[in-house]
């Protein structure tokens, strides 16, 4: 495939120049944050770091970390760096116990984010001659609007389908001859199966590429999707706190994602000590934004465990590559593309009057996550009627769906039957590991 870039000047910039650009932008961003975000200024003051101490990216390690807890504590406006009148957008991640993480964007922030997505689409072969079908969810979730904006920037004909209604997705895909598909990998696999069920062969559709992210997937799943849809499948990475999808994206080599280093600095740290680790070492991924206006974050800990490597890439891009995340340094699970913490399940149980005796079992069937929650019922919940127990299950399941945004399959079980190891209940059994999925 011909190597095409959306912003060649940056994407192929010599490494020394990237560093120079990062130096300049970092100094400015740190001063901007210090002057405008009291929450982070307090953290810097506490650590005894002044903006003047940051002269280049070599000084980055002096800055304090930001964690997800900081974002919750500062909710909603505590990390906002500009007047609300300068902001044009809010996006949000699913949160625990009612406290979500919200991120703000100025128009420049939205443009930067969409350009990052445009780079991903272009790297996957997208041009203004393509029809780009976006079936990530639209709304507070960044998947839909990110790729939608990126597709506009590329000039592709954008099909804003959002998620779900597979029959309609397939009808539009066939009738309007979509060439690029953007969704979660599990949904891509599902579309592939549905096409087959309807009697279509992989060569019957006009798709050539797919940009799939927001959940963990394996090389095996990539091959399945590529075969069933007759496309090349590319990975994309991002997080709402930093902007959204497009923080990093795959090129034609399909062996890791280039991080958009003109906008973000990536570090790998030891999750226990916070010490910066050398390139090529496995550790927790940390991002620093370089030119965000509304919601700049310095040294934000993603909790994703991965490896960074810089090497010559045949696509011509010089940006450092991150491997697929290999796990988490916290207890977050990604289920059907949605971030879920065990504490959210616990909050629902306590709220509904159950003791927090539960177990989450995750698996993958036909390339799609299954999500089962087992909850011990109280003595008083038991009656001789299955209908009563089933209605209690339904009630709890609905409450979890409201909290998480996805539906678990809920099972009430007898008291003291959930396996405990060393007296402590095992909260999560992730059978997806069998398939090499580690998140």
């Amino acid at each position: 495939m011909e190597n095409r870039y959306f912003q060649e000047e940056f994407e192929t910039m010599p490494v020394e120049d990237i560093k120079k650009l990062q130096d300049e932008k970092l100094v400015k961003q740190v001063k901007y944050v210090y002057d405008n975000v009291k929450y982070y200024r307090d953290l810097m003051d506490k650590k005894g770091v002044k903006p003047e101490d940051i002269k280049s990216i070599d000084d980055l390690h002096k800055l304090p970390f930001l964690k997800k807890d900081d974002l919750r504590e500062a909710y909603p406006y505590g990390l906002l760096a500009t007047d609300l009148k300068n902001c044009v957008r809010i996006q949000s991640t699913s949160g625990t116990t009612g406290k979500r993480v919200v991120a703000f964007y100025t128009q420049n922030d939205v443009d930067m984010w969409e350009e990052c997505c445009a780079r991903a689409i272009t790297a996957a072969g997208g041009t203004n001659e393509d029809v780009c079908q976006v079936c990530y969810g639209y709304g507070l979730f960044t998947g839909g609007s990110g790729l939608h904006g990126g597709s506009h920037k590329v000039g592709s004909l954008t099909l804003p389908m959002s998620s779900g209604n597979t029959d309609r997705q397939i009808q539009f895909m066939m009738d309007l001859e979509s060439t690029i598909l953007c969704c979660t990998p599990s949904y891509a696999a599902y579309i592939g199966e549905s096409l087959k069920e309807k009697g279509y062969k992989p060569e019957d559709n006009k798709l050539k590429a797919g940009i799939f992210g927001a959940e963990p997937w394996t090389e095996e799943m990539r091959r399945d999707i590529e075969k069933s849809l007759g496309i090349k499948a590319y990975d994309i990475y991002g997080l709402t706190e930093i902007s959204g999808p497009g923080v990093a994206f795959e090129c034609c080599e399909q062996n890791g994602m280039h991080i958009n280093e003109d906008h973000f600095i990536a570090e790998i740290i030891d999750p226990n000590t916070g010490e910066v680790l050398p390139e090529g070492t496995k550790g927790e991924l940390v991002f620093t934004s370089l030119d965000k206006e509304a919601f700049p974050l310095l040294r934000y800990r993603t909790r994703d465990i991965c490896v960074l490597t810089r090497g010559k890439c045949s696509c011509g891009r010089t940006f450092i590559k991150m491997a697929k995340p290999m796990g988490r340094s916290d207890d977050m699970m990604i289920i059907k593309g949605v971030n879920v913490f065990p504490s959210q399940i616990e909050a629902v149980l306590l709220n509904k009057g159950y003791a927090p005796n539960y177990q989450i079992v995750l698996d993958r069937v036909n390339n799609s996550d299954t999500f089962d929650v087992y909850v011990e019922m109280g003595e008083e919940d038991f009656s001789d009627s299955p209908k009563y127990i089933t209605s209690k299950e339904k009630e709890l399941q609905d409450a979890m769906k409201a909290m998480l945004g996805i539906n678990p399959k809920l099972h009430l079980v007898a008291p003291k039957t959930i396996a405990r190891s060393e007296g402590k209940a095992v909260r999560v059994i992730d059978n997806r590991r069998r398939y090499g999925i580690t998140i």
């Binding site: 003595e379 009656s383 001789d384 299955p386 089933t390 099972h411 009430l412 007898a414 008291p415 039957t417």
Partner: protein, 143 residues
């Protein structure tokens, strides 16, 4: 008047039923009647036994989740039309049967019917008034 029934929660897993029957056997308790209500995930095993309290204790110490439910016991002759008479009386008085099961003593030409209704007392009263004989705990296990 009502009769004690054991209601036991059984997960749909291999060996779960063995735990229950074993515990009852070891306690030396005799099972008179049983019925099972099941869903995809679990079942509720309902038993009429000779010594419900003793069986409950034995079951609980084997880790079973069990409660005692009060049900209505009815004696009917083992002949055509006997059951419909009972059901008719309840229907006429708008009493909904949640579930029922029965067992027969062929030699005695008699059957016992176990009924689960929302309100035992009013159901028993109505049945009695309509000439249907009720069974107490002793009678049902000795039928």
């Amino acid at each position: 008047m009502a009769v004690k029934q054991l209601s036991i929660f059984v997960e749909n897993k291999e060996g779960k039923l063995v735990t229950i029957t074993d515990a009852i056997a070891k306690a030396g308790v005799d099972i008179r009647a049983m019925s099972v209500a099941d869903t995809q995930d679990f079942g509720i095993f309902r038993l009429i036994v000779t010594e419900p309290e003793k069986a409950k204790q034995a079951l609980e110490s084997s880790g079973c989740f069990v409660s005692i439910t009060k049900v209505v016991g009815v004696a009917i002759p083992d002949e055509p039309g006997a059951l419909t008479k009972v059901v008719n009386v309840l229907a006429r008085h708008n009493i909904n049967i949640e579930y029922m099961y029965a067992f027969i003593a062929v030699a005695k030409k008699q059957a016992a019917v176990v009924l689960r209704v929302a309100d035992n007392e009013s159901a028993e009263k109505i049945l009695k008034e309509n000439g249907i004989s009720l069974l107490d705990e002793n009678e049902i296990i000795n039928i």
